[in-house]
């Protein structure tokens, strides 16, 4: 059966009080002209007349083989099985799970049950997060961690109850756990309906469109500013900021185009690996080496830069210029305009056990080797792999092979032809305590 004919299903997860019912009501009132069936495991108040609302108790069916990856949701099989008998009566299904639901069996139902698989496609998993309480919940329950790990969209709700800085920190934490998900913020689940419906979230192209930086490498610095400077002494001034010090590498002969910036970034990564030289306010910053600006005294602080001949310099800084209100001025005190500015995906500590791994490689893959590698990986680590998706360039195959999976279950098919596009592979895994290096090596061994 063609995927296009399947009825899309969106799963709404999130702890009690995260705003699932509010979002559900919002979707129902805004999705005009769409006939939506709602399966509710939590007895909320869906107050929309035209909706077909079915209440069903969550029923988790484990298999006799004891494999958690084979566990399905009996209530969904039963209710969806009946809904498909009336397929001309609705064109979308929303499943609202209980707060404590494990998303694994819900998602697995769409892979494991032949009849459900033939008639429905899992469009996406949307997890609502109560911004004020999620940090406590994450510490206490595996369910909330897994709901985040499984999500295609994370709705950071009730943001009005949390300070901006804490919200940024929370968002970073969630992104670390699940780099595949799109994060949207809301106060009372007031988000556009198209951010949660018809995501085609199992399509990696869509994911990349929404988060283009998703597969970018991480750097030890967050920001680069390029300045065209004449001969002379220049002042780098910084105001109070979030940290008592900041790492910096000044790179001379830095061109402002993107390729040059990337080249400079690669070079600076090596400098950042060296230990930093401490520079106090009023001292001169040497070019080409890793320095650490001491910023613990209150008020604006100045450092100096000596330029022998006209050049462009790149400042590769640990924080963005905005955070410390960083300026560059000439001897007359005039501010120097930036030629270019670039923000990088910053490296940081990954605290949670759950994280994301992305592998991107050019070239063709040997299908037998890939099957063997993936088979062993999923058998041994399937329990800890919550989601995976990506595309593969198989040798001799004119089309991209796209796949997605939940725990041990993988489903894939050929997609559009490669045409003139460079043949490459992208794989994304979200899981618990995954060994990135060995997975990367394992995949590389499958390349021809």
């Amino acid at each position: 059966m063609n995927t296009a004919q399947k009825i899309p299903v969106t799963i709404l997860t999130g702890f009690l009080g995260s705003g699932k019912t509010t979002l559900l009501n919002r979707i129902m009132s805004e999705a005009h002209g769409k006939r939506i069936a709602v399966i509710e495991n939590e007895y909320g108040e869906v107050g929309i007349d035209q909706a077909l609302v079915i209440n069903a108790d969550e029923e988790i069916f484990e298999m006799s083989n004891g494999c958690i990856c084979c566990t399905v949701r009996g209530d969904l099989i039963r209710v969806l099985g009946n809904l498909m008998k009336r397929r001309d009566k609705f064109d979308y299904v929303l499943v609202e799970t209980t707060g404590l639901a494990d998303p694994g069996p819900v998602a697995q139902t769409f892979f494991m049950d032949d009849e459900i698989h033939a008639e429905f496609s899992l469009d996406g998993i949307v997890t609502l997060v109560d911004a004020a309480h999620i940090e406590q919940q994450l510490g206490r329950s595996d369910e909330s961690t897994e709901q985040i790990a499984f999500a295609d969209v994370l709705v950071l709700n009730k943001t009005d109850l949390v300070k901006d800085k804490a919200l940024d920190r929370l968002e970073n934490r969630l992104r670390d756990m699940n780099r595949m998900a799109q994060v949207v913020r809301s106060e009372r689940a007031n988000i556009p309906v198209d951010t949660v419906l018809n995501l085609g979230a199992f399509d990696l192209d869509q994911v990349l469109k929404q988060r283009p930086t998703f597969l970018e490498p991480e750097y030890p610095f967050e920001w680069t500013g390029v300045y065209a400077l004449d001969e002379g002494r220049f002042e780098i001034s910084l105001d109070d900021g979030p940290d008592p010090s900041m790492s910096l590498v000044v790179m001379s002969e830095q061109n402002a185009d993107d390729a040059s910036l990337r080249e400079g970034a690669e070079w600076c990564v090596r400098q950042y690996a060296e230990s930093a030289v401490l520079i106090r306010p009023g001292e001169v910053v040497p070019a080409g080496i890793h320095v650490n600006l001491q910023l613990d005294s209150p008020g604006r602080k100045s450092f100096f830069l000596d330029i022998d001949e006209q050049t462009c310099v790149g400042l590769y800084a640990q924080h963005t210029a905005e955070e410390f209100d960083l300026h560059l001025a000439n001897e007359k005190g005039q501010k120097v305009k930036q030629e270019a500015e670039r923000v990088w995906v910053a490296q940081h500590e990954h605290d949670d056990e759950v994280g994301s791994i992305s592998i991107e490689r050019e070239g063709d893959v040997d299908s037998e080797k890939l099957n063997a590698w993936l088979g062993v990986l999923l058998r041994e680590r399937g329990v800890d792999i919550f989601r995976m998706k990506g595309f593969i360039s198989f040798k001799g195959e004119s089309r991209r092979f796209v796949f997605q999976g939940v725990h041990m279950l993988v489903d894939g098919q050929p997609d559009r032809p490669w045409g003139d596009d460079p043949r490459r592979n992208q794989l994304v895994f979200i899981g618990r305590n995954l060994d990135e290096e060995s997975m990367r090596q394992g995949f590389e061994a499958c390349l021809i």
Binding site: D57, E59, S64, N65, V72, K89, D113
Partner: protein, 346 residues
């Protein structure tokens, strides 16, 4: 391979009549000793057709809000019951189509409905409970909650009701509702068939296996390896053969001698799409099967479970139900587009 391009019936299957109900034809049964065919559709309509001519005798629209889920004709053939998503059971007269009783079972879907063979009791399952009613519609008892929603019910004798659910088959004493036997198996049981003597219980499981129990000895065994979940099961009237559909092939287990354990089942290969229903004629080892593509096959079986196709026909869409007329001379088939097709078998 199946070549049914012209859709005309072949072999023992001969053209009879056809009709259409409003939506997905979900359940049907013969009444008045085969003189009337009653059919229910997924949006809650009930229809009665003259068995010989196919002329519609009466119809009622939208009697169960949300749709009908089950229909069962009383052994006397003159009344029948329907159950639906509205949590109700209705008891009807076959001839006039009047509703004699309306029973509120519960707030959930009433998915399964069976009259006891002596017609004294009507069993209905709703969510995790099964309820038993007298023939006048008075509740006699209701069970405690099962471990999951009840997935199948069947009377093993006039005084004994069996239910299947996740992990368990339970036998209830009909007059009291006492659950006197429980057969357990960690798996989701999606279908159930009982041998006519009530000794063998067979259940299709979500993990693509069929599980058997012999109640007299409490021995059980598992037949794994189906390509899909065996949702279609049927015993023949002698209790010799169990036909199971899970995937395109039909697997027939023979209970002759010490079987089926350790024996090779009969494999009926003809369908090119997964089988959705199997049904034995009341005598003569004739099996009818239908599949997702609407193909219909009638098989003649041997006591060892092997067999051959002796007739084919085609429905407009997925076959949802097969009903042999009690004398085995007509076969009614329902389909997902609301088609009601009756063939003569000779």
């Amino acid at each position: 391979m199946l070549d049914l391009k012209d859709h005309s019936p072949r072999g023992v299957i001969h053209r009879g009549w056809n009709a259409n109900v409003e939506d997905y034809a979900i359940a049907g049964s013969w009444g008045l000793e085969g003189k009337v065919l009653v059919v229910a559709d997924a949006v809650g309509g009930v229809y009665a057709y003259d068995g010989k001519s196919g002329i519609r005798i009466w119809m009622q629209h939208k009697v169960h809000a949300g749709g009908i889920l089950a229909l069962a004709v009383h052994p006397n053939g003159t009344t029948f019951a329907t159950a639906g998503q509205d949590g109700r059971v209705l008891v009807w007269g076959v001839v006039e189509g009047q509703i004699n009783q309306s029973i509120d079972v519960g707030t959930g879907w009433v998915e399964h409905l069976e009259w006891s063979p002596n017609g004294k009791w009507l069993a209905a399952s709703c969510s995790r409970k099964v309820h038993a009613y007298s023939s006048s519609g008075v509740e006699v008892w209701q069970s405690d909650d099962h471990p999951s929603t009840v997935s199948a019910i069947e009377w093993s004798s006039a005084g004994e009701l069996a239910t299947a659910c996740y992990g368990r088959v339970t036998f209830f004493d009909a007059p009291t509702g006492h659950p006197f036997q429980k057969l357990e198996w960690k798996g989701s049981l999606v279908s159930m068939a009982l041998s006519p003597d009530g000794d063998v219980v067979a259940c299709g499981s979500q993990d693509n296996s069929v599980h058997f129990w012999r109640r007299s000895t409490e021995q059980d065994s598992m037949m794994p390896g189906y390509p899909a979940k065996p949702a279609a099961l049927a015993f023949d009237d002698t209790g010799t053969l169990l036909a199971t559909g899970g995937g395109e092939a039909i697997t027939v287990w023979s209970f002759r001698g010490d079987g089926p354990e350790g024996t090779r089942p009969g494999i009926l290969d003809f369908h090119v799409q997964p089988v959705t229903k199997v049904s034995f004629a009341h005598h003569g080892m004739l099996l009818a099967s239908t599949a997702r593509d609407g193909a219909i096959v009638v098989w003649s079986l041997q006591k060892d479970g092997t067999g051959e196709s002796i007739g084919t026909a085609m429905l407009a869409d997925l076959g949802t139900e097969l009903c042999w007329r009690p004398d085995g001379r007509k076969l009614a088939a329902l389909d997902a587009q609301g088609g009601v097709t009756v063939w003569n078998i000779r």
